[in-house]
């Protein structure tokens, strides 16, 4: 007797549209969030916040209520939603430019307040939507359309280490950095995303997961080469791991 072992999560729309470039990790990350919403059985009371950048098209695939945020303000919007409807599950889906550059103020303060929301950040070391400019997480030496000779710290400063920063904030309950470059990494990423939602559901504080992700188009690499770069370059600077876990401590 044949058994169904995998199917599209219910938290992804039946008529979903994924407009990301071929091999972009956004699709994998979004699917993991959807799978977690399914497993926690919270889809029907979830409100998502779509940010600006490639992540703006969240409403094309997430099968949940969604409100669009201005660039960088997702966690302020999430604060407004959650404080008005504390019984809802609220999450943001943001890029690194949105969360760690233009929106760093909202990020730090919402997490310092310990807003009971979950923030998912796709870190691909570039501004993907606008064509691959240098962003807050661009690695030293990385060539982008605005660091054509490689990121020089004398000119462009250093890549921001998001998890290292956010773990220090008293309001965060779960902080982890993951990648989705292998099936094993994907399974680990899902576990972390689930914990980031549990942090919210248990009222412990903000749950945060940074996902090291590819941007094959702007990196000018095949999806396979891009995953190599995640492992060999990104993960060397942005160390994957669980930086803070009040969820397990509470158990």
């Amino acid at each position: 007797m044949e058994q169904l072992v995998y199917s599209k999560p219910e938290s992804i729309k039946d008529d979903f549209k994924i407009s990301f470039c071929p091999g972009c990790d956004h699709g994998i990350a979004a699917k993991l969030v959807a799978e977690v919403l399914d497993e926690l059985n919270v889809r029907e009371k979830t409100i998502g916040i779509a940010s600006v950048g490639c992540s703006v098209f969240s409403y094309d695939f997430f099968n949940v209520d969604i409100v669009e945020s201005p660039h960088g303000r997702s966690l302020a919007v999430a604060t407004g939603v959650k404080r008005s409807k504390p019984d809802k599950v609220v999450f943001t889906y943001q890029g690194d430019g949105d969360l760690a550059s233009i929106g760093i103020g909202e990020t730090i303060h919402s997490m310092t307040r310990g807003e009971k929301v979950t923030a998912i950040c796709i870190n691909n070391t570039t501004y993907g939507m606008t064509g691959g400019q240098a962003g807050p997480t661009t690695l030293l030496g990385q060539i982008t359309t605005t660091t054509t000779k490689g990121r020089d710290p004398e000119i462009a400063g250093y890549p921001i280490k998001i998890c290292e920063l956010l773990k220090e904030l008293e309001g965060t309950a779960f902080v982890a950095r993951v990648s989705v470059d292998t099936p094993a990494a994907i399974m680990n990423a899902k576990k972390c995303i689930k914990k980031a939602f549990e942090a919210q559901l248990k009222g412990l504080g903000t749950g945060f997961v940074e996902i090291l992700a590819t941007c094959p188009t702007n990196w000018k690499m095949t999806p396979q080469e891009a995953h190599e770069r995640v492992r060999n370059e990104m993960a060397q600077v942005f160390k994957p791991g669980i930086y803070k876990d009040k969820v397990s401590e509470a158990e």
């Binding site: 997430f62 409100v67 201005p70 302020a76 919007v77 407004g80």
Partner: protein
Amino acid sequence: MNNKKQLLKGNYAIAQAAIEAGCQSYFGYPITPQSEIGEYLSTKMPELGRAYVAAESEVAAINMVLGAGSTGVKAMTSSSSCAVALMQEGLSFIAGDEIPCVLVSVMRGGPGLGYIYPSQGDYYQATKGGGNGDYKIVTYAPSSIQECIDLTYKCFYVSQKYRTPVCLLADGMLGQMMEPAVIGHYPYEEIDQTSWALDGAKDRKPRFIASIAREQEHLREKVLKVFEKYNKILENENIFEKYETEGAKLVITAFGSIARIAKAAVKLARKNGLKVGLFRPILVNPFPEKIVAEIAQKVDGILDIELNCGQMIQDIKASIAGAANIPVKFYGRPAGVMMTVEEIYKQIENVYKEIVEKKYGTACI
């Protein structure tokens, strides 16, 4: 207590009216001369089990309002001038999103930091906006503490009924002064928001609230839809004050606290036999152009008075263009010293002489 006359400070009156109106969520950042609104609500809202968040900036505050409003609750922020400037992006999104919310803008002097003096220098900011795209912020301008209360109610009602951001445009004078007023009760019906608000996609398709419109036709329809609302608001929710405009030769146009002083000057002018009236738009955006045009057709001149270097006067001129060929004079000055009745009366007298006496001779007075 609600139905009794109390000595109230403008900012507290607005804050209490917001509570009476059922404001469920308030987000704000301090700035003089409106900080008492946030101070008052920081205590009252939690007592009532409602949301108060001291936002880290005005940028965050308006976006918290965006989030709160998207769930259908009555949401509000308050601020002033250079800080309302920080909210413009959020307001543009909120207008495009068709999210109801109330912004209390208590004007101070500018540009830049200016200072905390009363001012009407943000008429343009409120009515012309600083955000991008085709939209308007519906704006009501009170001229007394009682109107601060009544119009706070009106702002919540109009925002909820038409799903649009609405601004209460007060100034430092109104925010800081005290006078007797009645808080009363929210007089409007509650508008059901469940048909569009976000509360989780249970037993229905998911909803998406956004300003983004990827197809040209979609964007066009979206913008035209919000402009249709502005027409309806002008038609159904317009409020204004006409004082002694019948038979007037000269009409004063003014809004907010200055209009109140101007009204006293008009009374004095009438006492002295000058045929002067006052038109005070209370809904200043969308602007009641038709009414101004009708008035202009029956008078020999208009004197616009504002505590700025001339902002609403452009709307007055635009309103009468093609309808009447009369002089539109201006008296105003930047933020700072409030005008007195005598000062305005003197201006009325001068303009009256210049316009009316020139036309009819002194016998008409």
